[in-house]
């Protein structure tokens, strides 16, 4: 039985993210012959001297024309140790929302930096966003070491510079690897070109990083997704509450409270089509039956009576604005939070963050595309929230424009 590690690439445009993923897939023998032939052919047709491994993930016509990544590509590979889901994200600032999409579910982020240029604004922005999105593990990859003669001092300088910046972010686990994505140094095997580097190869690090303890197994949170009521005589009185466990461990016999009603009951059974389960934990999708016949519907939440989320209509959050049209500081938006849908009104913009300096501009009146800032919202119904830092599911939401239906912002509750 192997577990899944989800990781995302990040960093500035052209720092080599897609090339790295191509290299990782290639060197771990996860590329199929016909895929390789196709990118070899395309590289040749474009007059490129070596096979451009970035083409393995840059699959859209526009991406190939422009030589950049526009939207996230998801790729998959497995080693005997783990299955990996990769989100290769774009570095270009215009597509920050796609980077955020890819990083939101990641266990680990690979931040790439071009050894020749060191940290640039986009490297800082992406590192900041990764920490904001609560990605538990960060690996700074100093790439293109071949272009600086595999010089240790370059690596050490960038490492020190990054540590300095990272000290102001919430990063729980940080490592550094000097690599050449183009030539494969320190990707799957330790490189002969950098004998001074004593750490492990990137793949080894991905295989070994410990992620089991990143989950919250303490606070029981079960957002009800769907009420199952078979229209069938043999299941006449059946009423099951289907959902995915957001956090905590649930067992039959446990006392639970239903929010918003506040009624309490006990778990009669936790069921799946394959039979009853003794324990349900994240990310299991199950159906819960309660001992009492109480009113429960989609958008409600099951928790323990002695460990409840906050039920609030005033929400304070750091949000990432993702739409060309700036936020209307007095506007209404649809809010999606766990399985709850509501309307939300922006009540206050507290500040906008400068992602480079982390300076807080408290005079900001609104947030525009790619801005990050702290706001207060008032919602039409109570939401059952935890701080994002403690719970990535009950601490997150998205805002949707009521007219265009576009997803305009991602929010992390503080």
């Amino acid at each position: 039985m192997s577990e899944i590690l989800r990781f995302a690439t990040a960093g500035s445009v052209d720092d080599g993210k897609s090339t790295l993923i191509g290299r990782l897939l290639y060197d771990s023998k996860s590329i199929f012959e016909d895929q390789l032939e196709a990118v070899e052919r395309t590289s040749r047709d474009r007059g490129e001297a070596v096979t451009n491994l970035a083409l393995l993930t840059d699959g859209l016509r526009a991406e190939r024309e422009q030589g950049i990544t526009i939207d996230v590509a998801y790729r998959y590979f497995a080693t005997p140790k783990r299955k990996f889901i990769i989100a290769d994200t774009p570095g270009h600032i215009q597509y920050t929302r796609n980077m955020v999409t890819g990083a939101s579910t990641a266990d680990l982020a690979l931040i790439l930096v071009d050894a020749r240029h060191g940290l640039v604004e986009q490297s800082r922005r992406h590192s900041f966003l990764a920490s904001l999105l609560g990605v538990p593990h960060l690996v700074l990859c100093v790439n293109k070491m071949d272009l600086v003669d595999y010089d240790e001092t370059v690596f050490e300088r960038i490492k020190a510079e990054f540590r300095d910046f990272a000290a102001r972010l919430k990063i729980h686990d940080l490592s550094f690897v000097p690599i050449s994505a183009l030539h494969g140094d320190n990707i799957v095997h330790r490189s002969q070109n950098m004998p001074w580097y004593a750490g492990s190869s990137l793949l080894h690090l991905l295989e070994e990083v410990h992620i089991a303890s990143d989950r919250n197994l303490v606070d029981v949170r079960f957002p009800v997704q769907y009420v199952i009521r078979p229209q069938d005589d043999s299941w006449h009185d059946y009423r099951g509450y289907a959902g995915q466990v957001a956090s905590g461990v649930m067992k039959p016999g446990d006392d639970v409270m239903v929010l918003p009603s506040g009624f309490t009951s006990t778990i009669a059974a936790i069921e799946t089509m394959d039979g009853q389960v003794d324990e349900a934990f994240p990310p299991m999708s199950v159906t819960v039956r309660l001992s009492d016949n109480i009113d429960v519907s989609r958008g409600d939440m099951l928790c323990r009576p002695n460990n409840q989320p906050d039920a609030v209509q005033d929400v304070e959050a750091v949000i990432c604005w993702m739409h060309e049209q700036p936020m209307d500081p007095n506007g209404f938006y649809r809010i999606k939070h766990t399985t709850r849908d509501a309307r939300a009104k922006v009540s206050e913009v507290l500040y906008r963050l400068d992602v480079n300096t982390l300076h807080r501009d408290t005079d900001a009146a609104t947030l525009s595309l790619n801005d990050v800032g702290r706001i207060r919202l008032r919602t039409t119904v109570p939401l059952f929230i935890d701080r994002y830092e403690r719970n990535r599911t009950t601490g997150s939401f998205v805002l949707i424009h009521e007219g265009t239906n576009a997803t305009v912002a991602a929010g992390m509750i503080q």
Partner: protein, 303 residues
């Protein structure tokens, strides 16, 4: 010994797919599940049964029928719909050809694949579906690798790959205006190997042609094509009987078989784990048309 409270990767994928299916059923007004009788759509039905058990599926199955299918697959499709008590709606490509809405290109090596788009969009409109479950996987093809789980389609059924909605965490935005719809892809994150391991683990029944069998074939453009009412040998082609199986079952005119002795799902897992060629690369003439064949079809509203 696995650490406590760890799910294996297949169970984690299953949980994610079930969550997506329940989100669609709970938030979208009129969903339907695209069901071809192929392995990915069979997995989808299996997952949907798990998602809503003990209730029946809260949506119908829809097959866009090119009229050029393997008979084993059609028989399986009908049996399965009946077996689980689901409603099956068939949108017929032949109807659109007869009505003059689409024309067959006799020279195309992609069969009636592209024509399906018209029938699909017509069926969606006729039944006013607001969400279609598709069994596409991101590992299948480079344009699919880019697509969201909830993929927005405009009133013409078009996908705009340069302007997809951000999709964070497991919060899916299915909002749309009348005439627009959502394609939902619950098994986006599964690979071909995951699918086969799951079929083996769960003992899922498949049409017989997924397993090794002898049949008359011809070798054409590096692919093994079954000889049947849709594929007739050309002058220089010799009919030979070979042991083959199918990795995908699309339109019978353009779906190739692979040489294989795999008699059951476990054998196939072993074979897939060792294969060096993608399933579409090995078996789909329709994808060979151009570098961006899939992206172009998807933009027009294809699956």
């Amino acid at each position: 010994m696995p650490t406590k409270y760890e799910l294996g990767h297949l169970k984690a994928l299953e949980a994610e797919s079930i969550h997506i299916m329940r989100e669609v059923a709970a938030t979208m007004e009129r969903p339907a599940l695209l069901f071809s009788g192929g392995k990915d759509s069979i997995i989808m039905v299996h997952l949907a049964r798990k998602a809503f058990w003990p209730a029946r599926l809260p949506f119908p199955l829809v097959h866009i029928d090119t009229g050029q299918n393997f008979s084993e697959v059609i028989a399986f499709r009908d049996w399965m719909a009946e077996d689980i008590g689901a409603r099956l709606i068939v949108g017929s490509v032949q109807d659109d050809i007869d009505a003059g809405r689409v024309f067959e290109d006799p020279k195309s090596n992609a069969g009636r694949n592209r024509l399906q788009t018209t029938t699909l969009l017509r069926t969606i409109e006729e039944h006013k579906f607001t969400a279609m479950f598709g069994g596409a996987r991101r590992d299948e093809e480079k344009a699919r690798a880019k697509e969201r789980v909830f993929s927005f389609r405009d009133e013409f059924g078009q996908w705009d790959p340069k302007n997809q909605r951000p999709e964070l965490w497991s919060l899916y935005n299915g909002r749309h205006r009348p005439g627009e719809h959502i394609r939902a892809f619950p098994i986006s994150n599964w690979t071909e190997l995951d699918v086969w391991q799951y079929i083996a683990d769960e003992n899922i029944e498949l049409p017989s042609i997924y397993y090794a069998h002898r049949r008359p074939v011809v070798h054409r453009d590096g692919m093994i094509m079954a000889v049947n009412e849709f594929v007739t040998p050309r002058d220089n082609e010799e009919i030979v009987e070979e042991l083959v199986r199918y990795r995908t079952v699309g339109d019978a005119t353009c779906t190739a078989a692979v040489s294989s002795a795999a008699a059951n799902a476990h054998d196939v897992v072993t074979e897939v784990a060792a294969t060096r060629i993608t399933e579409r690369g090995a078996t789909r003439a329709d994808d060979k048309t151009s570098e961006a064949a899939m992206e172009d079809r998807k933009r027009e509203g294809y699956f």
